[in-house]
Subunit: 209 residues, 2 copies
Amino acid sequence: MLDLTLRELLEQLGSSQPTPGGGAAAALVGALGAALIEMTANLTIGRPRFAEVEAAARAIERRAAELRRKLGELGDADAEAFDRVSAAYKLPRGDDAEKAARSQAVQSALMLAATVPLDTARLAAQVIEVAEEAAPILNPAVISDVLVGAELAQAALRGAALNVEINLASMTDADATQRFSNDLASARAGSAERVARILASGRSRFPGR
Amino acid sequence: MLDLTLRELLEQLGSSQPTPGGGAAAALVGALGAALIEMTANLTIGRPRFAEVEAAARAIERRAAELRRKLGELGDADAEAFDRVSAAYKLPRGDDAEKAARSQAVQSALMLAATVPLDTARLAAQVIEVAEEAAPILNPAVISDVLVGAELAQAALRGAALNVEINLASMTDADATQRFSNDLASARAGSAERVARILASGRSRFPGR
């Protein structure tokens, strides 16, 4: 997916091919959010005016760049996991043995298809944490980019959560479903409040105010 | 921007080059959201099971595809507008005449730099409207993609609004600033409630429920 041009990606996404779909788009949007925070750190580092926050800006830059790379890779992982679910649903169900084998294949594919967006949700939550460190200290001339980064990471987190949920809805293992639900709730916990704090902190630093 | 690969885009976005920045990312995320709704419509059209909603799905597909194209183009427009603001700030201010000319150039560049994200915000709001029509009727097997599309459009709208705001913060024409604020408030009005309705409607249709 990373080697597609934006034009190609937008066209493939809109087409009747089911992959890449919402899970891959969520991961990509999380990567875009991380990249915006990384850029704002890069527009802060090395400038005498911001010497006081130089070390913190460097740490933010490293974490944001790593999250940008990891989230960029999850887009492909999501499409592969979705394709495995589709392939499992297409297995034959002529007799009881085939039905049982198909059902097991579907369940194990759904498990993987829920794991990838759960990873996306966790990484997107980390992007929001980095944005919370960035908003009060990075270069105010471009601080809106940190706030946009937080909004994009929040959409990535929510979009990934929807992809976990839709896969859980067809899972039959109640224990596994509960575990995924708990993990997802942990990943989401506090993110809305955190984004609200980021927006308030960054907005108060807009130039001209 | 549309001819960059995703890998290139993510790297350029993260780099110390200020464009593309948050305004372009917001437009792109809106385009991704529209593409997900377009895909879900395409996975509904022509299937006998969904014959009853065929005409509505076709109308949704057309509107989503158009919004996807328009938002994709706004990414470049945003980067150009930002570059004009930067260029205006670099004009000489040696004497009063130069200062006045520079100030006028900055103000007119800021006006354009606020207009592009205002357009992005309006188009993103339209993506959310299309998602509201789509959530109750399109193919339930992939309905989570419509919900993710709505979340991405909401982030695009909020991200674009932040870019309008940061440009207004440096504008000196109070009337123009008020006009932009009013237009932005109109574009945002009701979108959060609409997204909540979309999520409730689509979630109730997840397969297995």
